[in-house]
Symmetry: C2
Subunit: 251 residues, 2 copies
């Protein structure tokens, strides 16, 4: 039977700068009597990675630029927060309704550059990890050193979407799995050759994990069991649509 | 332990016009010795619903309009297919690269109005169900009549996204569950009030289901077990962002 299991790691505790995410994962698995295997995929909420890597800023230490002050007035959004968003961005894609949609230095297009005020302490904001693929690889390598197994790793964040309400989690960092599942060139049972069948499976696994994680940070890591992980490498960059093929970037 | 199970229903066989999806689901569950409960959520690929409802067209019976012929030349896309897409649409949002992004009569914004050539037979196309929420409610009511339990139902389709490559499944029809999980107004462990924490959980469950379904139609229905389904009603329309709040619709 085709069956996927999505298991939340609980009692993770608060993550602090310098903590080892792999050590915390291994500890939580031990407490839950969960034996990781090479075929598991772990989805890790980016927030705890950002905390461990010190990607947390105190807003009262931020000096807003003239541009941030101008945008702050235009959008009714706190100037220091706008300043942090601008620093994390290559460019603004769109703004309005109190939201700035930007392209981050990583190439992600998302609201507020992924800068987030929840689950980090009052007056603080979490940035995305500087290089989420590298963060994912580090977690994977350390788990392999500790346990001798190398599960796939996805680092996730909650992104909004145009046209649809609500956030859906996506992969911002990937290690040890192909982020897309490409069925192009194969045929369906009628002999029709599949032409557009590329599923963003790392995003789908991140979305699945969010259902278990929730939004309050209690379950920051989820083990996905039963997915036939393909490949040993992969990058979240592969999920980014090149600008030339994008109908909703340049106006 | 917080755990979600995603179980594929196999050996579904080909679905034909007039077939009862609920009867096929009940049959597949019996063969897999799977006892459905009120707290399960079933994700049903829209393709089998469209087939059962006769939402399949033969392209050689379609007469393209002048507008379809013009767009066909512009996009290098088959004129009969373009004609079907136009008939399924309220308006075109964007076009280019062989793709037309439209707003369907339901209000979904997606490529090619959800008109799909795979898994329906050569020369045929599947449309979306005419009223996917109603289709979901019908499946739910019939399962309740047959088994005395009423699981939540999600009808799913694979949508592309701006900015990111690959498709991710989303909910186009919903019955018996709240499609969004609204944590706004509650606080995180630091006392920060969550302001933007609305997860599109029906979309996340649809995405999770796709990982098990795959793209070749062998597993058109998935049972999700362990999700704490809220509410007895809900509509996929609740997942649509109102135009006035949308930064990527009107240019």
């Amino acid at each position: 039977m085709t069956r996927l299991e999505i298991i939340g790691l609980e009692d993770f505790g608060d993550v602090r700068r310098g903590d080892s995410i792999s050590e915390l994962i291994v500890g939580a698995c031990v407490r839950q009597a969960l034996t990781l295997t090479d075929s598991d995929v772990l989805v890790v909420a980016h927030k705890i990675v950002s905390k461990a890597e010190g990607q947390i800023l105190r807003l009262d230490e931020i000096q807003p630029s003239a541009r941030a002050l101008e945008l702050s007035r235009e959008l009714g959004k706190e100037a220091r927060l706008v300043e942090v968003i601008l620093r994390e961005s290559r460019r603004i894609i769109r703004k309005g309704g109190g939201t700035i949609i930007v392209e981050t230095h990583h190439g992600f297009i998302c609201a507020n550059a992924g800068v987030d005020l929840s689950n980090v302490g009052l007056g603080r904001v979490a940035l995305l990890p500087r290089d989420p693929d590298a963060s994912a690889r580090k977690i994977r390598e350390e788990i392999q050193q500790r346990l001798g197994v190398a599960p796939g790793i996805i680092i996730s964040d909650s992104f909004g979407r145009p046209w649809r309400l609500g956030t859906v989690d996506v992969a911002v960092g990937v290690a040890g799995l192909r982020p897309v599942k490409d069925d192009r060139g194969t045929s369906d049972r009628y002999g029709y050759e599949l032409k557009a069948s590329v599923a963003a499976v790392a995003d789908e696994l991140a979305a699945a994990a969010e259902v278990v994680m929730g939004k309050k940070g209690e379950i920051p890591v989820v083990v996905i069991r039963g997915y036939e992980r393909k490949g040993e490498d992969g990058s979240a960059q592969e999920l980014l649509r090149p600008e030339a093929e994008d109908l909703f970037r340049s106006f």
